[in-house]
């Protein structure tokens, strides 16, 4: 949290109004993402009670397992149809390709990557990690066999989970994360994780401040008028709504998992789950609407492009029937993944700061970047190089406050990041002398304009080639073998 973020939080708390943390949208948003909202059975890590999903706000689909603790019902009524839906939805993303001439060969890139939007962090974990891990090793033959699409869906979910761990990736987004990135509220992060309350801050009804609307929403959440956004339902809802219905249902079906019996008796439970999930569904789409209205930052599409490349890699493996994931990464995979994440973080931080003055302000406030008025530009300044005289333009900058960077430090003009590189050569109170040491032939900031300089680049730190065999220092971590698993009845 930069000093600017602290200031914005204080302003939000004292005014009762949400504060914009950004001037643009920093995440790619599809106009029609796959929205998933889900409840799971309390006490059961991997047993969904209901899933509401779809790519259009007006046409949600609903799957409910009236007794999720029975594997028969859980898989027949939710897991298998949901897995099948997911595979069908992803099919065009896998198959639709465009040709691109790479260095030595023609590659087939996927036209677009898929995007899933969920209400909150916990649902992202449920959809990605829990469904992914609990489905991908299931048997497709013999005892407790499930359809192949269920297992493939597990592999897809795992891909979404792993890709979304990259900073700035937009394949699996939580509405609370998105709203928090773009707005500062007058409450803590923990409270912001309740989508309904967070949305009340961001989007209060007319005539109310965000703080007032949020306080009212919190009361509604407490009284049970507004059910939780999932995936774990409220304890109150479980006790007051679901438990009585489930008791009747289980008594009437008398242990039968028969489709005809379950369908005939489960109407009330399906209605109750659908009603509860509808709140979360609407809130997630409202968040989508608010964020879609914001203009995207310039580098947003670059980051979506890396999501598309990663998706293409996964889609190729799916086409080859080889989209498997390990339980535990090997040492090499882990090293690769860490450096990937570091690169993604560097690119995201740079991209956001360059796209958005308000984010750059955080760097300026932290003394990591300079901003001021250009008072002089000497394009033709020459100095003795190794052999000949070379051109090293000079820029004078008036900061209006003491310079936070020491003499000798280098950074880039934010208009030409990675190209127009300057070095601090003199500091006199609030005026700073800069020497252009790279990219001197292109545009440079003109006198009278406001210019900013920050050490931001998109290039990754070059890394040595990974050795063929894992070095002895990194051997020994146990990699559990993958065994196919059968689901358990917890009834």
């Amino acid at each position: 949290m930069s000093a600017v973020d602290v200031l914005l939080a204080i302003e939000a708390a004292t005014s009762g109004q949400v504060q914009r943390r950004t001037t643009v949208r920093h995440r790619h948003l599809e106009p029609e993402p796959l929205v998933i909202v889900a409840y799971r059975m309390a006490g059961e890590a991997g047993a969904p009670l209901g899933v509401m999903y779809g790519t259009s706000r007006d046409a949600p689909s609903l799957l409910v397992a009236p007794e999720p603790r029975s594997i028969g019902i859980r898989f027949r009524d939710v897991m298998n149809p949901f897995g099948e839906f997911l595979c069908n939805w992803l099919d065009p993303f896998v198959e639709e390709r465009e040709m691109r001439q790479a260095r030595h060969r023609v590659v087939e890139d996927c036209i677009n990557a898929p995007q899933i939007l969920v209400p909150n962090h916990a649902t992202a974990g449920f959809v990605g990690a829990v469904l992914g891990r609990s489905l991908r090793y299931l048997r497709t033959e013999g005892d407790g066999a499930v359809p192949e699409t269920t297992v493939l869906a597990g592999n897809h979910f795992t891909w979404f989970e792993q890709q979304s761990a990259l900073e700035g990736s937009c394949v699996l987004l939580a509405a609370t994360d998105l709203l928090r990135r773009h707005f500062a509220t007058g409450q803590s992060d923990l409270e912001d994780e309740d989508l309904h309350v967070l949305l009340s801050w961001v989007d209060p009804p007319a005539g109310k401040t965000g703080a007032e609307a949020a306080a009212e929403m919190e009361l509604a959440r407490h009284s049970g008028d507004k059910p939780g956004a999932g995936p774990t339902p409220d304890a109150d809802w479980d006790r007051d709504v679901l438990d009585p219905l489930l008791e009747v249902f289980n008594e009437q079906r008398a242990g039968s998992n028969d489709k005809e019996v379950v369908d005939r008796l489960s109407g009330d439970i399906i209605t109750a789950v659908g009603d509860a999930l509808a709140h979360s569904w609407d809130a997630t789409w409202r968040a989508h609407e608010i964020l879609l209205e914001m203009l995207p930052g310039n580098t947003v599409e670059d980051r979506w492009e890396s999501d598309r490349r990663a998706w293409t890699y996964h889609a190729d493996r799916v086409r080859d029937g080889w989209a498997f994931f390990r339980i535990k990464d090997t040492a090499k995979q882990a090293a690769w993944m860490i450096s990937n994440r570091e690169d993604a973080l560097t690119a995201l931080e740079a991209g956001e700061a360059l796209d958005d003055p308000l984010v750059l302000a955080g760097l300026v406030a932290g003394g990591e970047a300079l901003i001021g008025e250009v008072t002089a530009l000497d394009r033709d300044n020459k100095e003795q190089g190794p052999k000949n005289m070379v051109t090293r333009p000079l820029i004078d900058l008036e900061l209006g406050e003491p310079c936070p960077l020491p003499i000798g430090s280098t950074s880039y003009w934010t208009v030409r990041p990675g190209k127009a590189k300057v070095e601090v050569i003199s500091v006199d109170g609030s005026s700073v002398g800069l020497k252009v040491v790279a990219g001197m032939t292109g545009d440079l900031p003109e006198p009278g304009t406001i210019a900013a300089f920050a050490d931001l680049t998109f290039s990754s730190i070059p890394r040595p080639k990974a050795p063929q065999a894992t070095p002895w220092t990194h051997v020994g971590a146990e990699t559990p073998s993958i065994e196919s698993e059968g689901p358990d009845d917890t009834e």
């Binding site: 949290m1 930069s2 000093a3 600017v4 973020d5 602290v6 200031l7 939080a9 204080i10 302003e11 708390a13 004292t14 001037t23 059975m41 309390a42 006490g43 059961e44 991997g46 829990v130 891990r133 609990s134 007058g186 803590s188 992060d189 923990l190 409270e191 407490h222 774990t232 339902p233 409220d234 304890a235 109150d236 479980d238 006790r239 679901l242 438990d243 339980i327 535990k328 958005d356 003055p357 308000l358 750059l360 302000a361 300026v364 406030a365 901003i371 209006g400 406050e401 934010t414 208009v415 900031p445 304009t449 406001i450 210019a451 900013a452 559990p480 689901p487 358990d488 009845d489 917890t490």
Partner: protein, 387 residues
């Protein structure tokens, strides 16, 4: 070190009077583990020491907490525990051998405390304490017929001069020459890892049991080091209902707990700081049945230390949050805001400084940071090419 309960001790007397006829809550492992949640909160410390039922008190103050467990979570936990313990702990023995390599005899000698023939209440608890002690004495003394498992034992922990009975839902295993705490939990361990919050809560709670077992052994003249600092958690494996066992070292939690416990006079000190006598006089003037006013007066006299995490840990959280908001407490917004502006004591002052007001003498540096943030926001708005 074991402190004796001091019935006439002035502190417990004062605490009892502070509570008066407010609803009482008996301390248990969970509330004791809460000593580690927010040790610097005077309000929590005193109310806990006075055994005030925080949930009911918060309700009296019009801001009841929204906690409570789903009936399904409760049911699942109980089913799992029954399953693991069925057939003389057959499944438990199996996972302990397989997952943590314990050598256990095929025929376990189990021991469970009983209250048969004793009236419920303190006497029954005392009877179970004695039975638990006897079993521990036999284990410590190397008795060959000593039990391998003590289930539902009751031990005592002294917090200040309050005596807390702990019903151990943990099991003490005795193998080789080590006693081991073993707790059955309902959450899953997936591919060797579990949610850190859940493991943390289990570790803190186990540390409480561990501390009381150590004290009991010491009281018996045995070596408290007999109890291992490695606690075994029995959880569900992956997304199945099969059990798995993992060791968690709770030395750090135990040390933290001991540190809190050794400040045994802290409640006494706190009461002195609060000038509890005056508060008591005020409380005593209240009408007996006027519980709302009593709760109001008592709670508001105790200084609070609200942090966002209180919302998931403490029954009083909503009461305290309202107060923290009204006073502009920077801690209400989380540690990062607090780290910067705590010294100013009030976020409204911070806001005024950012807007140009003179900072107080102790806030000159914070003032510079806030102003710089404000001016950076203004300056970047004028950036050439800014959107």
């Amino acid at each position: 070190m074991v402190t004796q309960r001091n019935e006439a001790g002035s502190t417990s007397n004062v605490l009892e009077q502070l509570r008066g006829n407010l609803p009482e809550r008996r301390a248990n492992a969970r509330t004791t583990a809460a000593l580690l949640d927010n040790p610097s909160c005077t309000r929590r410390s005193v109310l806990d020491a006075a055994a005030v039922d925080l949930n009911k008190a918060a309700e009296l103050l019009g801001a009841p907490p929204k906690f409570g467990q789903s009936p399904f979570a409760l049911g699942q936990g109980n089913r799992f525990e029954r399953r693991v313990k069925a057939d003389n702990y057959a499944l438990l023995v199996e996972v302990l051998r397989r997952d943590v390599g314990y050598e256990l005899p095929d025929k376990l000698k189990t021991f469970s405390t009983t209250t048969a023939g004793v009236a419920p209440g303190e006497a029954a608890l005392e009877a179970r304490v004695q039975q638990t002690k006897d079993a521990l004495a036999r284990i410590a003394g190397g008795d060959e017929d000593a039990p391998n498992v003590i289930d539902h034992g009751v031990t005592i922990l002294h917090v200040g001069d309050t005596k807390i009975y702990l019903e151990q839902d943990a099991l003490a295993f005795n193998f080789g020459d080590e006693l081991q705490i073993c707790e059955i939990k309902g959450f899953p361990i997936v591919d060797g890892s579990a949610e850190p919050e859940k493991v943390g809560a289990a570790a803190r709670q186990s540390a409480v049991y561990l501390a009381s077992l150590q004290d009991t052994l010491e009281e018996l003249g045995a070596d408290p080091a007999l109890v291992s600092h490695d606690v075994v958690l029995i959880c569900t494996r992956n997304y199945t209902i099969q059990p798995t066992a993992h060791k968690v070292n709770v030395t750090r939690e135990l040390r933290g707990l001991r540190r809190q416990l050794s400040r045994k006079d802290r409640v006494e000190d706190l009461l002195q700081e609060l000038e509890a006598d005056e508060l008591l006089e005020e409380l005593n003037e209240l009408a007996e049945e006027d519980l709302e006013t009593r709760a109001q007066l008592l709670v508001s006299s105790l200084p609070l230390n609200f942090v966002p995490r209180c919302i998931s840990d403490c029954d009083m959280a909503r009461v305290c949050r309202t107060e923290a908001e009204a006073s502009g407490d920077p801690g209400r917004l989380g540690s990062e805001v607090d780290n910067l502006v705590a010294g100013l004591g009030d976020i409204r002052i911070a806001k005024d400084i950012a807007d140009g007001a003179d900072p107080p003498e102790n806030g000159l540096e914070v003032g510079i940071v806030l102003r710089r943030a404000k001016s950076a926001v203004e300056a970047t708005k004028n950036l050439a090419g800014a959107t």
